[in-house]
Symmetry: C2
Subunit: 319 residues, 2 copies
């Protein structure tokens, strides 16, 4: 199969979208931006044996490649609209391609996203997605907007992906049922787009958790020039993890695990009902985990109010 056959056969999913003047297949796609909207741009590269195991199922890989980018749009409160997908593949193997593309386009369809371009080349598995989203003019959940006194919230559950990964690495041995739940979280994160949009009118700052809650919350603190007190036992996770792991390990996974793709966000106390309503409307559980302070530091406390020191602050891409 030649490159152009591949592009034609697998990637042309034309879709009705009034903002697309020219889709995939030219030197560039052409988009007519919607009036009174800003555009958001984000890009993520995923590399074999770094972001995924070499034997990952193509559908799981397709999910992750696209979901982590959609998650960045969720973290801005934006509506994801278009993506460009670059893929390096060692060969064009039809069973693999079909499984990859079927899931990729199913997930894109679920979020009403259209593929408008990209690149294909021969090489070890590598993927890059650039995603473009829309925001009402002047609105966005930025990292630098947290204010002293804000509540800190986190969506869904954290630490599951890290637990599964550590099981793969042989550092812990999870019982099969718990591993399956954690592995599902690791392989199939749910981008919190509906929540991001629902909290857009109320929340101050937001960020998605890719490198670990403590580190990603740290980006908000640094950009906003504030501190935070959070409560490790308040962090939403799989309760069974506390039964099968040392408590300090659960803290490590929930606070510094990464790959959660949940949202951590701040909002004024006065908006607690609004946040809980937004969670309800978007069918996304949220948990209150602490407060923004003016300390300039992230303080983490256990159930007894004792400070917790982390072994690591989260994932370093060159560590």
């Amino acid at each position: 199969m030649k490159e152009f056959d591949f592009i034609r056969q697998y990637l042309y999913h034309q879709k009705n979208d009034n903002n697309i003047l020219l889709g995939i297949g030219d030197d560039a796609a052409i988009i007519r931006p919607k009036p009174n909207h800003d555009l958001c741009f984000s890009s993520d590269m995923l590399i074999n044996n770094r972001h995924f195991f070499a034997n990952v199922a193509p559908s799981d890989l397709a999910h992750k490649v696209l979901a982590v980018n959609i998650s960045d749009m969720a973290a801005m409160g934006a509506t994801p609209r278009w993506v460009l997908l670059s893929v390096a593949l060692p060969e064009l193997e039809e069973t693999w391609l079909t499984a990859f593309c079927d899931h990729f386009f199913a997930l894109a369809k679920q979020f009403d996203i259209t593929l408008i371009g990209g690149d294909t080349t021969k090489g070890d598995f590598a993927f890059n997605v650039t995603i473009i989203g829309e925001l009402p003019e002047g609105k966005a959940l930025r990292r630098d907007a947290a204010q002293t006194g804000d509540d800190i919230w986190v969506s869904g559950k954290v630490g599951l992906a890290a637990a599964a990964l550590n099981h793969h690495w042989g550092k812990v041995a999870l019982p099969p049922k718990i591993f399956d739940t954690c592995e599902q979280s690791r392989l199939r994160p749910t981008p919190r787009v509906a929540l991001g949009q629902a909290i857009l009118p109320f929340a101050h700052a937001a960020q998605d958790i890719s490198d670990g809650l403590a580190q990603d919350l740290g980006h908000i603190l640094k950009a906003s020039e504030v501190g935070a007190d959070i409560f490790a036992d308040s962090l939403p996770t799989l309760p069974a993890l506390y039964d099968v792991l040392e408590k300090t390990l659960v803290y490590d996974y929930t606070l510094a695990g990464g790959d959660d793709y949940e949202l951590v966000f701040t909002a004024p106390e006065a908006c607690r009902n609004d946040i809980l309503n937004a969670a309800q409307i978007s069918h996304t559980p949220v948990t209150h985990i602490g407060k923004i302070t003016q300390s300039g530091h992230l303080n983490i406390f256990d159930a007894n109010g004792e400070p917790i020191q982390l072994n690591s602050l989260g994932f370093d891409h060159f560590g």
Copy 2:
């Protein structure tokens, strides 16, 4: 050096740009589109030992990574504005990074382009650039707009990069001076942005030559449902190549070599003066190489009017 230090130290080049509401450093950048303009999007992935040699100088690599994307904007007649750069690097080596970033940002500055996002990860050298350009609303040099009777033009010189590459592969031995000229073309292609914009009011279809003139012109013919007659001896190339190579090899390199990043475009006969003026204004030589026909085929003739058969139709990314 940690990832975030790297991003801070090398990639934050803030620039005055009224359309950037939020630059690099959040989950996503935010752009406010200029009124009455469409946006163009293109993405290219470059992989070690596939698109560049492992020992390539970092400045040459930076040039190619960015220039091939700028070239896609030139081919649309668009003004390049913003880029997202994803890089996989085996290590963070400061000398290498400085050389790479210095040239990357110098070239970006030359074209008034701002880096607004991207990704960094550990891995074998791999690069992805997504570029965003602006077009006056409804204007673009599309592949599907060539018309029977159009002149076919090509910018600059073609076949030099292929000659240099074949020298590297040991398939030909070019004299040092000729090799140097060809190697410079291969390593430092000039994106034809000024020409693309200058011909925008007159030209019908355009495409940049990355996979070989015959194949890339073929995309225009297919999309426009037309044919073409072109004249192999009219193709602009380094005249000295005819002195040191078999004529059939020169034909192969100029017609099917690729990596030229020149523009091939079509325009009505009535616009010949306009095209030549546009070339003058943009300081870009252009050469008339043939005509669009209704034949549905690409016919290539030698100086005696005899048809030429190519050994290959150009580069196949999975060949």
